[in-house]
Symmetry: C2
DNA sequence: CGCGCTGTAGATAGCGCTAACATCCAGAGG
DNA sequence: CCTCTGGATGTTAGCGCTATCTACAGCGCG
């Protein structure tokens, strides 16, 4: 009774085996695989049963070659392969969102790194596109702002979506958060706690969202009619060390110290916190510190950091959805704003009376 | 004078164009691409010049289909796509190492997630292997210890290397660090500073390296003839919260507190640090804290964490090298140990006299 | 001078799939 | 009874490469 034939020198089951087993042509099996409409329901069911039974999985390379689709989405990050700067949780989260959506839609995500600052970036991208022939591309910041790369992708007719670019202009879909509003909200949070001298640690000003975050800080001050003090705005570079130096400048600079510091990202906030600890300041009693991003570290600091949460993973998901829509030919909404959320932990509180007093005292000393 | 022909409706340059331009057959071009030995030097140079000039890049899908090689290395992490636990810097670092070596060797890395705890894991892996047909696989822990998956890969004849598995047995290459020796070294570091009551925060004991790290701690105590005190060994789970609870047990448990805590990983160490801060202890004056892994967070804590550095990236590189050797047919060394390195930062110091005295006093009170 | 050998190159035949066209057949409409 | 239509299937060709076989020139050797 047992079936023989079953060649099976290797474990490879091809479409031909399915066709033979279910008594239809290769083409019909292919149609079932591709959810083509013109297949009789009975046939579809029968073929699918055989597919499941044989554990058949179509060979991607063969499909790609013929169908001129690869079922790959390339996720591009900035950075030479050996360098790799930046926040790992950002990378992992964005990646997770993209992978999740890819898998759900039968795609795979190819994570690649590209250094937009080198002249060969365009060549690398071209080679990548030609080799892999991805059906779409998701550009992580700051690649998402590289006009050169965008132009190249357009020229190659590769659909793409951008995550948090400098500008949301252009026809291609964009996923972003409202950095300005979020930053304003955080600043207003500190203001509403009673803080009036709020230090601000900038990000690198080439990054457009650094600029927007600072704009939000200023807008909040204006709205609350608090005079902006230039000395309270200090440069930073999104690194721990930068944050530490910024805090040193704010807290040890001979001026009346701020009662709160708002750092443009969590890593700089961690630096501020370290400096505060070193000076023997109690956070939040003597000094409030707030961050931005709600990354992995925010919960591991002492005290846990009040920060602005943006769902990076959601951005990954959305960007992928956009690309998939472009591939399908439907027009996605051009710009999607992802919600942000203020996460209040223990690094912020109302300024202590003592601190206010001390500040006022030193303010008297200085003039 | 200008050349015509040049069809070029699309930007796709095929091997045929190169062949025509350089006046050889397709096959010769292919041989040049594949670094086949039997090509005359002059021909090779000529063809390569044309390749560069046309910007030709071979189409991966087509190559794969015919050559039965995919030039993909799959890097598999534990975790359902939507869940994603664990330390992002581990993921990013391992990935960086793998990608780096892949790119250097003309391969691409496909990062995938697989949940070994579900019954469908094997099916998922099989589908992945059939679809993608990776030439090799790198298994990150704890997948690297899943006998089921290993057996499947063996059955499918897919070369693989394992990172930090439970056991280094088996024919396949393995990359690991000597957790026991590293842990012993860290413990001896604390002993040599003068600590005698050293708390130990365990990792999850299903993870074999948790077991080895504890063994190292014990070995150090034995070597220094310090009596092991069971109450100083507390459970943990590699999380921040677990570390915090462990520290609470060690520091607030009514027994003479340890002068140092060695946590099995940085994240638990961060938890211990938070608890210490909360109790108003000064680290390292009142309490030394050491971690393990030297992840991203270690430098962002206050004080910066003394920890055991293992180059995850190097493990990624090595594992990839091993797989590439298997693919080439050469036999790699079966087990590669990656160096570890004690990184002394500011969270450890000699126990303060006051602390020792306090400890002795409370020791007198207790009996 | 024929023989085999080696190094170089071309010709041929697909890899496993699917686009595009061809075919078939039932049922509607004349 | 013959078209015509359109859904369900089959047939053919070939995507861009490379494994494999074949061709042939040049050379040494007995």
């Amino acid at each position: 009774m047992k079936r023989r034939k079953k060649s099976s020198r290797r474990t490879t089951v091809t479409i031909r085996h399915v066709a033979e087993q279910s008594g239809v042509s290769l083409m019909t099996v292919s149609r079932v695989l591709n959810e083509s409409p013109n297949v009789a329901e009975a046939t579809r069911v029968r073929v699918q049963k055989v597919i499941a039974q044989l554990g058949f999985v179509p060979h991607r390379a063969a499909r790609s070659l013929r169908a001129r689709r690869s079922w790959w989405i390339a996720l591009l990050f900035q950075g030479a392969a050996r360098e790799l700067r930046g926040d790992p949780s950002y990378v992992v989260e964005l990646q997770a969102g993209v992978i999740e959506r890819c898998v759900e839609n039968g795609y795979h995500a190819a994570v690649e790194r590209l250094d937009a600052s080198t002249p060969i970036a365009a060549t690398q991208l071209r080679e990548l596109v030609q080799q892999l022939a991805p059906d779409g591309v998701v550009l992580a910041p700051p690649l998402s702002s590289s006009e050169e790369l965008l132009a190249l992708l357009r020229a190659l007719h590769v659909p793409f979506a951008r995550v948090a670019p400098r500008s949301t202009d252009g026809d291609e879909p964009v996923v972003f958060i409202d950095d300005r509003a979020a930053s304003r909200q955080m600043t207003e949070h500190l203001l509403s706690l009673g803080h009036r001298r709020i230090g601000f640690v900038q990000g690198p000003m080439q990054r457009s969202y650094s600029v927007r975050r600072m704009a939000g800080y200023r807008a909040a001050l204006r709205a609350w009619k608090v005079r902006e003090e230039p000395a309270l705005i200090v440069p930073g570079d999104f690194t721990f060390e930068g944050g530490r130096m910024a805090a040193a400048q704010l807290l040890g600079g001979g001026m009346p110290p701020p009662t709160a510091i708002f750092a443009s990202n969590d890593e700089s906030a961690a630096g501020c916190l370290a400096d505060a600890h070193q000076r023997g300041l109690r956070v939040p009693r003597d000094l409030s510190i707030a961050g931005f991003d709600d990354t992995y570290v925010a919960t591991m600091l002492y005290p846990p950091l009040t920060t602005m949460s943006q769902s990076i993973r959601e951005m990954g998901r959305m960007a992928t959805d956009q690309v998939l829509q472009l591939i399908k030919g439907t027009t996605p909404s051009q710009a999607i704003r992802i919600e942000h959320r203020l996460v209040e932990r223990q690094s912020t509180a109302a300024p202590a009376v003592a601190a206010v007093a001390a500040q006022e005292k030193s303010a008297q000393q200085v003039p």
